[in-house]
């Protein structure tokens, strides 16, 4: 299990009726990184990871009501990509929202 947190220099705006399941997440590495737009499942994965959840794949599976074995590989791959872009970092329980 790996926990994540939002780096201190990442700006975030979540859009959607339910903050726990945002439809769109806008991110920007401050002060002048190019903004990234995450939609649908990508938005959900980032927002779950941002809460410091220990098991992001399991939490995402529960939120979107899909079996864990189906989502886990994609979730882990996407988290690695987010980390490489500096839009999330390994650390856990670092919810800054």
């Amino acid at each position: 299990m790996t926990g994540y947190r939002v780096p201190s220099r990442v700006a975030q705006v979540l859009v959607g009726e339910d903050p726990a399941i945002p439809e769109v997440v806008y991110l920007m590495l401050l002060p002048d990184g190019e903004p990234a737009v995450l939609r649908d499942s990508a938005a959900v994965i980032w927002s779950v990871a941002a809460t410091g959840e220990d098991d992001v794949s399991a939490a995402v599976a529960a939120r979107v009501d899909v079996p864990l074995v189906r989502v886990a590989p994609d979730v882990e791959r996407f988290l690695d990509e987010l980390v490489s872009l500096g839009l999330i970092e390994v650390g856990g329980s670092g919810d800054r929202r």
């Binding site: 975030q12 705006v13 806008y26 920007m28 002060p31 002048d32 990234a36 995450l38 800054r96």
Partner: protein, 310 residues
């Protein structure tokens, strides 16, 4: 994942966040004002039926703050830090769209633009605050608080100072019926109004505050009385506003400068509007148009005065 055109509201919030990071990195003091920096206590609210209460609850509603819609991000900067901020911003993709002298007659703000963020208005003073700008900023800075914008902790004025800023802004726009004045003053408690009044007196904003709250007559005779009377009542006779601005200037030199800049076309603003440098012919034409406009307005004002005397 993709980068695309940001919705304006997101671009405004990101602009605030970007400026706070630049300020933190370079020891620049700035306060985020208006737009997403406004305290929830001063926002308009929308009443929603509460679905969790069911119909039996009959009439129960939830009050939900309505986020402010802004087209740009506004910050008030310690005047002695303004040059450093603009220099830093220029190194981070920002360009100066309008200089201080290109803006309003108050010359209070410069506008910066960015390839994908919302425009930013850098205020070196706030119209209506007539005292020394450096001292006024220090007064507001000393009671700053923090608001989270786009996930970033940003420095904002105290709630009392936010009330004052919103009232002055609406007053300058001649929007005396604006919800900002109602929420910041009319609906405030006696104690909250007293705090706003005390702050206004400290920073030299008592006259503009009075203009926004129906007490301007108490300041009749002050040099800036006519100006705030004209602004707060949306005076349409431009020569009258022009004269009021000249009279409100703190020194003769400032008065002369104000008089000239209001009559002479601004080549930089023309360049921004045209998207290129104006030609000599276009500049000459602008001078002629300005002159004709001034003459027409003056004639209209004289006629209006004669009409009132009859």
């Amino acid at each position: 994942m993709s980068a695309e055109t940001l919705p304006l509201g997101v671009g405004v919030q990101f602009a605030h966040a970007a400026l706070q990071v630049l300020a933190d990195d370079h020891g620049i003091d700035l306060l985020h004002i208006k737009g997403p920096a406004v305290d929830a206590a001063l926002l308009d609210v929308r009443e929603l039926g509460d679905p969790t209460l069911g119909e039996s609850a009959g009439g129960d509603t939830l009050s939900v703050p309505v986020p402010r819609r802004s087209v740009d991000a506004d910050v008030l900067v310690r005047p002695s830090h303004v040059d450093r901020l603009t220099e830093v911003m220029h190194r981070h993709q920002w360009t100066t769209l309008f200089r201080f002298e290109d803006g309003s007659a108050f010359e209070h703000a410069t506008t910066m633009s960015h390839p994908f963020l919302a425009m930013v208005d850098i205020h070196r003073r706030f119209p209506g605050i007539g005292g020394d700008a450096e001292l006024a900023f220090e007064r507001l800075w000393s009671e700053r608080q923090t608001a989270v914008i786009a996930g970033q902790p940003c420095a904002v004025p105290s709630l009392t100072a936010q009330r004052l800023v919103l009232i002055l802004h609406a007053t300058r726009a001649g929007a005396l019926g604006h919800g900002d004045i109602r929420r910041s003053w009319t609906d405030a408690t006696d104690g909250e109004r007293e705090a706003v009044q005390a702050l206004a007196e400290e920073v030299g904003a008592e006259l503009a505050l009075a203009a926004g709250t129906g007490r301007l007559h108490e300041y009749a005779g002050r040099p800036d009385y006519e100006l705030w009377l004209a602004l707060s009542t949306r005076e349409h006779a431009k020569p009258r506003v022009w004269l009021a601005r000249v009279r409100a200037a703190p020194t003769k030199r400032a008065a002369a400068r104000t008089a000239v800049r209001l009559l002479v076309p601004n080549p930089h603003r023309m360049e921004v509007g045209l998207g290129r440098r104006p030609t000599a012919r276009e500049l000459a034409r602008a001078y002629v148009d300005r002159g004709l406009w001034g003459a027409r307005e003056l004639v209209a004002m004289v006629r209006d005065r004669r009409g009132r005397k009859r």
